[in-house]
Amino acid sequence: MGSSKNNGKDNDFKTDSGIPLKPVYSEKDIDDQNLGLPGKPPFTRGPYESMYRGRLWTMRQYSGMGDAAESNRRYKYLLAQGQTGLSVAFDLPTQLGYDSDEVDAQDDVGVVGVAISSLEDMERLFEGIPIGQVSTHLNINATAPIIFAMYLAMAENRGLNFSQLRGTLQNDVLKEFLARKAFIFPPGPSVRLSCDIVQYAIDKVPEFNPISITGFHVKEMGASSIQEVAFCLSDAIAYCDELIARGLEFDRFAPNLSFHFACGRDFFEEIAKFRAARRVWAELAFDRYHAKKDESARLRFFSGGSGAVLPAQEPLNNIVRSSLQCLAAVLGGAQSIHVMAYDEAHSIPTEDSVRICLRTQQIIALESGVTKTVDPIGGSYYVEALTDELQVLIQEKMDQIERDWGGMIPAVVNGFPQREVIHRAYQQEKDIESGKRVVVGLNKYTTDSKSSIRIQRTNEKAALLQKRRVKQLKKRRNAAKAKQALEKVRLAALDAHQNMIPVLIEAVKSYATVGEITTALKDVFGTYKDPGLIL
């Protein structure tokens, strides 16, 4: 019980998501029954029995810039510095289905990620990188079917068996409509394409996680941790229902689903969030989907450090923030981690700033000792109480979506989660302005001195070369073959029951480009326009 001396100040002690906190927690606050052991349902303490004792999380820095050659150099640098899995960042034109040589793309080629317009670009990107041995995360959504087709075609050209390929596709279009906004086609066809990938991959590319159902961008947009997990898992329900409607058994695809969460600034709430998410998913798997295998109920996730809480002011402070985020992800049991660079609010990372991200992970992994036993935080009165509380609140939010909207797709189409999130984002900005929400170096303990950090600049030369390259490719290739392949793409798109991946692999092999394939798909599916809610 709070002391009356506090005069109601106890109300000021809340988690980032607004959960009121007691002055102290004790054994009375733990429900032991929910704890279990790591590797056993409901996986509160971790999805695997040995966790980091058996194998460290994958150190996977999101990266991409300029043209394929420039990104290839950066990937080799990262691998040499100890990165253990690749994570490809694509430029906006590639994400939105434009070729590098298109007028609409001109300012954005190679700016926020690598420009990939053709199979040739993809092969250049992985030049000298053994894709049969390195795990690759392809952060692509609306154009995921095309990019995945290129990755597979590249593997074929190298004489690799698809079963040798390990990695993940983000491929989560629902969160695009909700938060990330790099959508192309309307929700229906988008989900179809997403599920075509999943269905194809569980059969032909079994070591790949064909989808990474993502809460990250929802949190970055301004959601609480409760909303992040609730919306993410509600998206998962929508995908699972679609796959089941196609005749797939839950146990057939569920083990290959993966998840992606942000790691924000409330240290213990984030740890508890990851544990609660595993529990909610396990219950969902067994109760709603009648999973028969433990693997179907095991939530595995990638943690992306939150960039939204890293200000531009006094950027080196962000190394501290990112370290805390990384530690929370480790204590929360992440399978794969990306640490945000200190210059996140300035530009994409330099070699130096991304190296510090890797070192952060390596220092935590190899010097701090936290990996020497599984789930060292388990049994903490506070963390377990918070995990229980979060589980209840997440479930309540998910129930609300089901009850009031009939699921996540109708909810998103009607703008419900978006309104909730932007309302909270606005409130948070006002709290920063008033000083209620402290951001050290921004609204408290500030200096007048300007930061003088070196930032990564866009490689204009590489962008120009890339534009020329794509133009030349379109002249060089067998135009008739490409045209034929595109027609097949269009016909396949018209048939809702045809899985598009085989036809896309053929198309990319004939050097049909990202832009051309997208245009063919747009002709059939149409495009989606964001309603632009302000509230």
Binding site: V111, K181, I348, I534
Partner: protein
């Protein structure tokens, strides 16, 4: 680009502090934005850019406005703008630059100040 949190939050804030806001949404083409802005007879065109293409966008924006011989409208750009680029944007002709971290109230103040400056310029020209 697709990250519209800043644009939405600033739009909401400006609306709440008395501005009339016409929000044109994501991935706008500069030519179309300027066209609509002039049709609607706005005082200020604001762009939110997080992708690093602010200098190019600024050049296009000023070019499109000049092309239409419009002397009234003011311009503002916010988002991920490196320190070194703030003065570059001003040189290109952008009236208000609000990099990330600028308090919402300051955004409103700077926009209002740009309108006063415009009025004063007009008065001085009479």
């Amino acid at each position: 680009d697709g990250h519209d949190k800043g644009a939405l939050v600033v739009s909401r804030s400006l609306r709440d502090s008395g501005f009339e806001v016409i929000y044109l949404g994501l991935y706008g083409k500069i030519e179309q934005i300027v066209e609509v802005a002039i049709q609607e007879d706005v005082d200020i065109i604001g762009l939110s850019i997080l992708s690093g293409t602010h200098l190019k966008a600024a050049n296009r924006l000023i070019h499109e406005i000049k092309k239409r011989k419009n002397r009234k409208v003011r311009t503002a750009i916010g988002g991920i703008i490196p320190e070194q680029d703030v003065s570059r944007l001003k040189k290109i002709g952008i009236d208000v630059v609000v990099p990330t971290g600028t308090p919402l109230s300051k955004v409103a103040d700077l926009l209002r100040a740009s309108l006063v400056a415009k009025k004063m310029t007009r008065m001085n020209m009479k």
